[in-house]
Point group: C2
Chain length 340, copies 2
Amino acid sequence: MPQVPRQDKAPTSADVARAAGVSRTTVSFVLNDVPGSGISDATREKVLAAVRELGYAPNAGARALRAGTGNLVVYAMPRWPLGPAINSVIERTRAALADRGLVLLVHGDRSLTGTDAALAWAELRPRAVIADTDRCTAESVDLLRRHGVRTVVLVGEEDVPFAPTVRLAQRKVGRVAARHLLDRGHRRIAAIVPTGDLAEPGELRYAGLAAEVATTGLAVARHDLGFDHDAALALARAWAADPDGRPRALFAYNDEFAALMLRALRDAGLSVPGDIAVLGVDDTPLCELVQPRLSSVALHTSDFAEAHVRVLLELLDRGPHEPWPELPENEPRVVVRDSA
Amino acid sequence: MPQVPRQDKAPTSADVARAAGVSRTTVSFVLNDVPGSGISDATREKVLAAVRELGYAPNAGARALRAGTGNLVVYAMPRWPLGPAINSVIERTRAALADRGLVLLVHGDRSLTGTDAALAWAELRPRAVIADTDRCTAESVDLLRRHGVRTVVLVGEEDVPFAPTVRLAQRKVGRVAARHLLDRGHRRIAAIVPTGDLAEPGELRYAGLAAEVATTGLAVARHDLGFDHDAALALARAWAADPDGRPRALFAYNDEFAALMLRALRDAGLSVPGDIAVLGVDDTPLCELVQPRLSSVALHTSDFAEAHVRVLLELLDRGPHEPWPELPENEPRVVVRDSA
């Protein structure tokens, strides 16, 4: 373990130069890995030893400015809570960047959009920024580029013209679910729309479902629900008491809400899929664990995360003004099990 | 939306001063919110308007150095994958810091420890750092302090003497599980130890379980298992074929593995808890959704996350050399449902 002398002030690059017996320019060449600077391996080792010895950390902004680029990639935390899908994207992105010596920083300020958001991200002088389309404008992307951000990748429901967009469309999830239920002959379709933190993606999935169902002249019965056993049971009991009025198929927003409804429907004496079919979303491990096994719309999270990472890496290799590569788009499909 | 002039270079504070018709010192006073600098509201507004107009973002390191402190809090991503427990800690920490105008940055480099890790975090010139005990040494904490990090909060299995530690003990989870199963009269106890990414916490939970069971002179049958239906089913079938040899209680690492085993045991014709009791960990929503309802060791995630945040905020208000407040420790307890 390197000996770190106790002192009150942070060491500077001048301290490193003194300790290594070299010039500050040499220190800078070594730390910024400047090509063609003619530094011998022995000198490089001496400088790095002094850096370790003294505990010298150039600040990221200063280092990025000197070297023309930093090793940080800012991932602006999406506005809805962390869950299995976003965890998977973060984990894969993190690992792929680490293979290139880049560090993922998940930026926790969810309140900012537009140029305010861009200024907060630009402060870190990152090499790349990944963010949702609804937090960016043409101006904010331009601002990032002027602060040395080489690559901006956006994620969103729809393409935007000012930056490469990886489409993760929630409406499409609802449309695919509707098509599955309609194709199986269901005409009385209901939907759970979550309240609270998940309201925003909930509305989008519902909108896709309702639009697709509407193409057949039918309507969807909408039920806004928190993740609450009593509320779920009340809904299931109302359906049990009204055999003629109850839906024959339920789109349950995601697998957790679907499992909640499976439990409530069983407790209310209704059978799945006999009395009512239930369809979840996300194709999580939960689907195999509940009774009956849950049919679910797969967002292709792992494919999507891989495509996301592939695009990011491709874009990192291009200049900011080069055309961008073909971009992935999620293609949800139904994994059919026993519940719908 | 502010007009951002297209230009190739990032604007400087000199550009802001020129645009606002004030000195660079005035710009610096406004941006760093220097108390007692006698800046009028009108001047402040003019400077802020120019900042917006030009799209000026001082880099975080430079700003932190000038102001003596930054608004960033680095949370070093733990080494095991993001899951419901860590998501909850991140979400709450993020929200509490945002209330104070601080921004959580989740740092994605899992490979570094000791002074290397400290150097990577120090580059961001954060105001506070939260990290696991096994990635920090006395030297690395000292190094962070010398780079202006006011607050270091560690999280770990055991206290360390060189920084305040929030204890999140996995061994204790295993001990509490063992005590519950022993108290219910079980003498033949088995444990699932996950392979792969979760091996590390898996070993700790298993070690606690085995140590507690050993106090009664008994041993635990250990089964290493990936999250795999076929492997789970093979294990359950082996138990079904050997009524005398099979365990009467199973500690299943977490709720997902417990649900996996519930499904496998049912498919193998064994009843829970009649033939074998099953205990999970985490007290997730899954517990109420599987059949039978799952008993589970609650880590008190939400209490714990709250305590974690409370300590962090208290420490932010103290100088780095003041004594630290009393620190929370997780107190797992069993939430008894139908499975054990």
